[in-house]
Symmetry: C2
Subunit: 212 residues, 2 copies
């Protein structure tokens, strides 16, 4: 767009890089802060101190606290989706083992710091009018994308009656397991549920009558 001299372009490049690096550092600090200290403990000042940036630098990127934290979860969700795509390459090719591996992965991402941070933001949004519409839109977007990925990884045929709802229910179960892991290590109970749920899900996806 427009003509720039080489010198002006060279001058702008590293500036943009620095700005991007600062933005990333603020977003990462916001997510870890939310996960560890909750919404009430996550002020812009706390995030700036954690990221090692000035208040002014943060305000250059994000006008309000709500904008900062919604952007942080959105950014982390993008990174998470990219990581899931990467991890999905190593999944078994087909059948029950693949179904189990996919459910295990979907549940796994709901027990980490990103889910914990997102949960703090979701819950805070219920009584913060400035957060509510932003977070509701973000939740819907992440939910749609998680569903799309689950369908793809499971090789689910949503034209078969009941398959769509079963995949949705699987993601809701994963969210519930994330919640159950909030205050105590629920991993032993969770492993049994994931194993059994995967068997059941596999039967819905590939009914035995069809000889798959």
């Amino acid at each position: 767009m427009g003509v720039v001299t080489d010198a002006a372009a060279a001058d702008r490049e590293p500036k943009q890089d620095r700005a991007r690096a600062t933005r990333q550092r603020i977003l990462a600090a916001a997510v870890s802060c939310l996960a560890e200290r909750g919404w009430s403990g996550s002020t812009v000042a706390v995030v700036c101190a954690r990221a090692g940036v000035t208040r002014g630098a943060a305000q250059h990127h994000f006008r309000t606290r709500e904008e900062l934290f919604t952007a942080a979860i959105a950014h982390m969700a993008e990174e998470w989706l990219a990581a899931v795509r990467e991890r999905a390459r190593a999944l078994p090719g087909s059948g029950r083992d693949r179904t189990h591996a996919v459910v295990d992965m979907l549940v796994d991402v709901h027990t980490g710091p990103l889910f914990r941070a997102a949960l703090h933001l979701w819950v805070a949004a219920t009584d913060e009018p400035a957060l509510q519409p932003r977070v509701a839109a973000l939740e819907a977007r992440i939910g749609r994308e998680a569903h799309r990925l689950a369908v793809e990884f499971l090789g689910a045929d949503e034209s078969v009656p009941g398959v769509r709802e079963t995949v949705q229910g699987t993601l809701d179960m994963a969210r519930g397991l994330g919640l159950a892991n909030l205050l105590s290590d629920d991993s032993a109970r969770r492993a049994g549920i994931v194993r059994q749920w995967s068997r059941t899900l596999d039967t819905v996806l590939r009914p035995p009558a069809e000889g798959n």
Copy 2:
């Protein structure tokens, strides 16, 4: 315990009644306050104002803010369990219709104000050391009782491999659906998931091969 005169007993009775009524009013105010304003908006002062009692009256019953809110959720959970027992009497007698009615009921109780209040307390407990052990113990107790009721209402035979984990997964899905309903009305999507999962669950509980 011990001998009291009739007059002393008569004097004590209404006093106990009044104390119990005050306690109930404080607990109900604490739950509605948590559901509507979250943990950070739920101070003892706010609850007292809502319940129409003095700060002194509240402190007579509950020494700390943590004690008050944990007691409030525990009390409401008891009331909820009693209501569920009552409601369970009207459930269809057996088969698929009963399974659907039970799942619908289990999911339903995770979308109301009690779940919302409990969720605020759970999430707040992750970064409030004074709350954490109380809430973790309470969550475990409610979880065990909800599981016991689900098994009873579904007529589930937990000696059959996989049945226990499937009932657990159903309750985790119910929690996840509660979460999904936090920021928007998720009832249409939820109805489809409940319908489909009830069919699947029924097959796990009563495999067709056994001709049930």
